[in-house]
Symmetry: D2
Amino acid sequence: MINVGLVGGTGYTGVELLRILVQHPQVNLKVVTSRGEDGTPVSDMFPNLRPFTNITFSVPDVKTLCECDLVFFATPHGVAMEMAPELVKAGVKIIDLGADFRIKDVVEWSKWYGLEHTCPDIVEQAVYGLPEVNREAIKQAQVIANPGCYPTAAQLGLLPLIEQGLIEVEGIIADCKSGVSGAGRQAKIGGLLCEASESFSAYGVPGHRHLPEIKQGLQNANNNNEVGLTFVPHLTPMIRGIHATLYAKLKDTSVDLQKVFEERYANEPFVDVLPAGSHPATRNVKGSNFNQIAVHRQQGGDTVIILSVIDNLVKGAAGQAVQNMNIMFGFDERAGMTQPAMLP
Amino acid sequence: MINVGLVGGTGYTGVELLRILVQHPQVNLKVVTSRGEDGTPVSDMFPNLRPFTNITFSVPDVKTLCECDLVFFATPHGVAMEMAPELVKAGVKIIDLGADFRIKDVVEWSKWYGLEHTCPDIVEQAVYGLPEVNREAIKQAQVIANPGCYPTAAQLGLLPLIEQGLIEVEGIIADCKSGVSGAGRQAKIGGLLCEASESFSAYGVPGHRHLPEIKQGLQNANNNNEVGLTFVPHLTPMIRGIHATLYAKLKDTSVDLQKVFEERYANEPFVDVLPAGSHPATRNVKGSNFNQIAVHRQQGGDTVIILSVIDNLVKGAAGQAVQNMNIMFGFDERAGMTQPAMLP
Amino acid sequence: MINVGLVGGTGYTGVELLRILVQHPQVNLKVVTSRGEDGTPVSDMFPNLRPFTNITFSVPDVKTLCECDLVFFATPHGVAMEMAPELVKAGVKIIDLGADFRIKDVVEWSKWYGLEHTCPDIVEQAVYGLPEVNREAIKQAQVIANPGCYPTAAQLGLLPLIEQGLIEVEGIIADCKSGVSGAGRQAKIGGLLCEASESFSAYGVPGHRHLPEIKQGLQNANNNNEVGLTFVPHLTPMIRGIHATLYAKLKDTSVDLQKVFEERYANEPFVDVLPAGSHPATRNVKGSNFNQIAVHRQQGGDTVIILSVIDNLVKGAAGQAVQNMNIMFGFDERAGMTQPAMLP
Amino acid sequence: MINVGLVGGTGYTGVELLRILVQHPQVNLKVVTSRGEDGTPVSDMFPNLRPFTNITFSVPDVKTLCECDLVFFATPHGVAMEMAPELVKAGVKIIDLGADFRIKDVVEWSKWYGLEHTCPDIVEQAVYGLPEVNREAIKQAQVIANPGCYPTAAQLGLLPLIEQGLIEVEGIIADCKSGVSGAGRQAKIGGLLCEASESFSAYGVPGHRHLPEIKQGLQNANNNNEVGLTFVPHLTPMIRGIHATLYAKLKDTSVDLQKVFEERYANEPFVDVLPAGSHPATRNVKGSNFNQIAVHRQQGGDTVIILSVIDNLVKGAAGQAVQNMNIMFGFDERAGMTQPAMLP
């Protein structure tokens, strides 16, 4: 049983983390913070939690947080880096669901996030929390940079091919579609049902913050050599789910792609490579931490097409964070996430 | 650990039951039947179950079913009554999620369901599986008639008032709204996304099969005296959820209605009476077995308005069935259903 | 050809009015105001209008508005009453799509809208713009109070019965369901797709501003005698549409209700009484100015059930406003609205 | 005024055609056929048309059709080619919204559609009805092959670049997303709201029938030289709309792409090139015949990204058919389609 704190509990990532944590067998939820909602019972804001917790939001307070074994940050970028140094000094473990520690190149980070980074040393020590790549490092980590939603779906779909040098690394295309919860629980016109439902559109085509994060991951897999990536995110009229459709040119069309993927993920508890010819749907993983992947070639061509789906709030955020926690503390990696996805 | 069979596993009620059963700590899923899908892995049809079960559909076979401790029927009406007698004789317990054993008056049943009833004796012994009313009888029952979705939402909202004689029992109105999954997983034009989304309509206004079921329950609570009920179901453009808006005339406006409801359901694990002034939303209970209730009067008038929400596939079907199973076998009544609703 | 101004063009009512007006054969759109968007092309905000108008938003200015033959207000309550006196003095006709002139009793108005009324004299002269009731008065009116969305659907469903004294006027119930566009184009959490889709809930049960408006209309039809009404609005996960399900007790069950409705609306261009036994769906009228009505009794009982559907943005707002304009200026009452609803 | 017949009026393409035709100023709707619905009023099936037409479905009959000036086929493939020869002989003009005359290579057609073609001569004379390419030929045509929905969106986005030789024609990627109405009004499980809403998935990745159609169009623009295309369609949880996201490698990054598109479509009544930096949304064109296009490069790279949106039922089917009719008969090309898109 560990004591856990959550900084920033009022967003969709926050409530999803709470949904998992309140029934996690080894977690004692000690503190959930929100400046704006100090004193409000968490279940007043999220009535699905009414029968599960009486905890109230409180103002973030480093002293209280330092009494936790682990603190999750489910905050906009810039918040975690302000509080992390003191917590790190106190020996508290940190999982940041935001973007503060994801990009190793802090100059690049500043360019995309518009802030000076205040603790580059913690960036350096932080482990990028994609268990399928960094499981051993996660076990030892004090600070985890939990991956973004698009980067999780895109990297899991592309890594097997890049690691084995099977594709041309220039000209990779990641055409990604996300449910609206990816935009967060913010009072903005664009997220209204009347704006976002019954419509589909791309956004951020000139450049999106997840572009450098995906590139970094792919380049690590490519022995730190440059990778050419075009990444286009789209807003999809549904609450949850990411579907990444990934395109690359094969070096050799005789490779058994199905086998490459099945072997790469044979021991992964949350990656499910579908049978050849499958088309994963985001609803197959709704509410669960699974990633489903299918790999295709069209009409015998030399373009490989990978379909990779996750729930953006689970494997793309809160679920992956709990998976990282489970690894860090030696729990069963599936603990708290033993439920099938909700279908329909 | 008990051996469980499921007859009719290809509908939404069936897959929801499977979603709960595959991770229920005391259940061994022995057989899932479907005439049409014999030999197909269940997870081919429902890919959310891929990592959880390797079971395949098989043709229903009484001998195999007799090896189970409990058999669920998630079938259209008329199926359970054909197979029940043999199973009952063999000592197998039965929970019918269909309508075969819900209406005690078999003549009335025939009128609404268009079939002659083949085992009125089992109707007589069957217990109507609404735990909030019949928990003690359920413990002893061999056959459970699992309530319909609308009847569950409507009865839980009205029973406290009728049991205590607080409302005029003529002129009760149940204006009920259901998600589209209530229509089942059937290839019909009316259920298409292009027909049912972005639209709202009533149906079955002249008379719906759940009318006699709700009336029977209310009359039982009214010392078997007649109750006058108008029930109008509506199709709502969403997958899951029932919202019952219930209207009745109060005999005495000085009664503390909030207290009546809170006391009636104080010990119920799955009924959550919201604070005065609340408006429950169906999403608060999506994917969970909870019923949320709020009670109102408008502008000090003498009409009581009760808002009662459930997930039609859980408390309105599969979850209530598992709750009944838990009661019948002496398990924790919450077993298998310890997760908060999925929000958003 | 008349010159038309629109005050408040950035909401859903505003854009819907523009959608109709830009292709209305007798309208020259002279000015569209918005304080916040001064100088922005209207079609930047509403790209569906790109090929139809080059007009830009401008700051509201009484002098320019006075050059119009007609000014629509699609503004929050309180705005129209500030600007109306000067326009009225200048002889400009006004159609207020807001609530400023709907309630004849200004004390009652203040109670519900929380403001002192600044021009009770204009309230007195204003005509309630429900053409099916006040067509002759509309022809002569200078100021039209365009009805609210729920009041339109509810009154059209109940008026035939009240006018002819066919129902008990105590205990009328209006259970109404609206698409989310009824909440307006406002950056509020509650209207987000992730909050409002895949959910259904009531709101305003203790008392909603449309309650006194509906009561006023029903009482007018009841020879100014009191009417007892319970009105419960619900938020429905779709963009457009209102479905009113109306319940009342019949004085005499032998009346031919179908005939009553058909005769009452025989000459109405936008009210469509469906054949006996029908269930109107909101999608039947999506994007059109029609109201579809069906009338039922259940199992031969003495409760009459009326189903009344409109598009809240058209017959419930902008379309009805244009219908009023057409009547005021002697145009074909259907002008600008000769398109069928969009289905699917 | 021309007499028009419609063969196959019960699908979504059919009802959309009817929605346009019943208010088209130069069309007299003479006959609407359906084998299964003989004698049913069209407005019983599509109640949005109630106030607009009294026509009933009738069994298709060549003699009656021969009395029309123009016959639309909104039928599954294989139907139009059976009836076309007789109509052609009788001098009737034909617009086939199905696939029978789209592919010039009848062997290729048979491969994808699984039928022997019965009138290759009509295929040869038929004009592919994309007005932006073939307007002059359409004016003279007797038989129009109305383009598919995906092919319309994809070709309009890619043609300007191919015609001018600005991109590498190997390795073009068309990642396309369609609303569910693209699957037609068919009673199939996959189209149910409970299957298709709140989910996103690719389909037909190994090969879809629109692949050869798009390739044919691109190759024509490429002086009949081979084009390498990967086409992946996706099912999007909404009723209407197609969003094509198109990727190709630029030969020369110094070209002013915005100007290329604006000039190419300067005189097109239904193609709207958005300002540089825009992201079109499908809702901008919902219910209208417009195509909106934006062109991008990401981070200064050499991949051009084109975003092209249409309403699949209008510009992707019925609207384009009416546009073709207008051109064939010398009507205003916009006739019957002078309404803005419905937003929201």
